[in-house]
Symmetry: C2
Subunit: 384 residues, 2 copies
């Protein structure tokens, strides 16, 4: 096990009818900016619940955050924040709104520099506005971590940053708010959570048996609850269990002492940036082929995964790995997600060329040991 | 799943040679009181490491905290804290030292009342000194929770309190400090962690499949690593994995949304108070008989546990439960802990009388639904 430091200061308020707790979670001396997306929260009652809880607070609004939140939109929000002397930002929505709010909170405090530098690493975050969230879509785990992914329209870029200053002070998770989610978003949430776990689990052995099993616990639960979540959208316990899986998948716990490997995300982000494929869809396309490409270095973990998650009993290592990869893709498809680029009308040869070239230009190897070269990226994508 | 709020603000600094990080973890403007137990930290080098890291800090010392820390000793420390205007307390040792420090931190701030009231519930904690820890014994999870158990010599009482104001600011866990632990303490740590998990797991069904599996993850890991920990005391990974299991067993995570049942602890504490049996030993004596007594209400979970942890395949529910209980006791005994009162020279009939009478006097039912009566306690103990 590697040395690590673990600190997660987010207060998670979880359960039925918890949005009303907002009243006490934000001091009513603050100028609050409520940030949301396309307006679904006005249809499902969440907007009204938030406003009712904050009826004695000073609340401003900023809407229109996109599914893959853009730098351009966020910078409009930053201007608004400065103009209205906002001192608390409340994200109401899914991971995209949360990611946007994290960037806005940090970008507001950047002086005399382009805040895009937060994403490229050229600007160091020295301060951020406090933020909280009301989560309406379980998927990214953004409610309990300090990560954010922002896209830049101008350059088709999608980059991530992580900083302890943008941990939400609190996140309210009321699974009832998920009842009205479009099926596609629920599916994406399941796949996204699944892949988040795998990026922290499917690595060469670190001798971290507890973290391995904590990861498997999430995967086993996702597989178990997915059919109910998808067939009974108003099943509270199924929704609640999915929410908790999504949060646990990316709150830093299962990566304690572990080398992680975010290469499926690294490649997937490019598919989203170039072709507009949903984040989760891009992951379900890339991961099975990436594992196949990396089957030697990830051999032991792939076998452990196949045996423990799918109960594969074959004694032949290659057979176990093949079946583990196949069963993973099968699970994604059983949830209703497409796992081939052709199904998204994307030519895999073209995508392989385009994206591997970008990795080459950036001189970027990925993978747990930096072992995945642009050539590997090309090979992986050409088989997607 | 029940509603819950989860917030754990402890910074865990985990791994090899991490004690030196103390230098930066405590501002050197503080008057620090270093609290420890019987002096083993002077033999294993931890005392020197702490002092070296704090060589530019103002450090006072208070030693002599007992294995089951007493109110009487803690109150001497409180006097010392006030006299020397201490404003940060550092626990160096195991759970007992940590528990003592939590009580001292809170008791110091109690004005015009007897701080024992913190334990009985008569005194509300309004403030506490900040505290941190260097953990040298994995067992109680006290390094990442806000619980404390204190004994009162004068009345043979052992009571617990829990308050967010006594979360450690940080806890340093260097598994290397465990190399020199007496075997008995290592064994106790394994058993203690195991039972902590079970008190949050072995309940009637709450539909919390992820929490169940997170609990099982700890149990499976404990069973897997115990032989190595016990036979190779200087195996770093085995020690590290035990440390992380112990921390995860009682940091509040697996009890999110779950009804817990601390009745094994409730009865075990009395065995310690009356007969001086080690905490973990008392738990290993009580739990198997308590499960047997409660086999109806805990039926589903006992079966799940038997099947998932021990792979019991029988189709007869009673057989699965009997075997699950037997295998649990077998695991404890394989670690070298005695599981019968007679092995501790305690007469079970006498203990049953004495302790059930105390529950009766306090008019105290225990168990997840308050279903365990003093008569049940008598039955359970008479079979120990």
């Amino acid at each position: 096990m590697n040395n690590f430091t673990y600190l997660n200061p987010v207060k998670v308020v979880f359960g039925k009818d918890t949005i009303e707790q907002l009243t006490d979670l934000i001091p009513n001396t603050e100028n609050i900016l409520m940030v949301y997306g396309g307006g679904s929260i006005k249809k499902n009652g969440v907007y009204d619940q938030v406003n009712s809880a904050l009826k004695n607070h000073k609340v401003y609004e900023f809407s229109g955050v996109e599914p893959n939140p853009t730098y351009e939109t966020c910078m409009n929000a930053v201007e608004y924040v400065k103009k209205h002397k906002i001192n608390f930002i409340l994200a109401v929505g899914g991971g995209s709104v949360l990611d946007a709010v994290k960037f806005i909170a940090a970008a507001t405090k950047v002086i005399n520099k382009d805040p895009w530098g937060i994403l490229t690493g050229e600007v160091k975050i020295e301060a951020a506005l406090p933020l909280g969230s009301v989560l309406t879509l379980p998927a990214t785990g953004s409610e309990m971590n300090c990560n954010s992914v922002i896209s830049k329209k101008a350059t088709d870029e999608k980059l991530a940053f992580s900083n302890p200053l943008v941990y939400p002070v609190f996140s309210i998770v009321d699974p009832q708010t998920n009842y009205s989610l479009p099926l596609r978003q629920t599916i994406n949430g399941i796949v996204d959570s699944y892949v988040h776990v795998m990026e922290q689990y499917m690595i060469s052995n670190d001798n971290t048996p507890l973290q391995d099993r904590q990861a498997e616990a999430i995967i086993q639960t996702l597989i178990e609850i997915a059919p109910t979540v998808l067939s009974e959208p108003e099943n509270y316990d199924a929704r609640a269990n999915l929410c908790w899986c999504a949060t646990q998948a990316l709150n830093g716990l299962i990566s304690c002492g572990v080398v992680t490997d975010w290469s499926t995300h690294g490649i997937g982000h490019e598919l989203t940036a170039f072709y507009g494929i949903d984040h989760a869809q891009s992951l379900s396309v890339v991961m099975p082929r990436l594992w196949n490409n990396q089957r030697e270095i990830k051999k032991d973990k792939l076998i452990q995964y196949g045996r423990r998650i799918f109960g594969i009993t074959s004694k032949n290592s290659n057979e176990v790995i093949n079946e583990a990869i196949a069963k993973t893709e099968e699970f994604f498809r059983s949830c209703g997600v497409k796992t081939k680029l052709s199904e998204y009308n994307v030519d895999s040869a073209e995508a392989a060329d385009k994206i591997s070239r970008r990795f080459k230009e950036r001189n970027l190897n990925i993978g747990e040991k930096g072992q995945i070269t642009p050539e590997d990226v090309k090979d992986i994508l050409s088989k997607c």
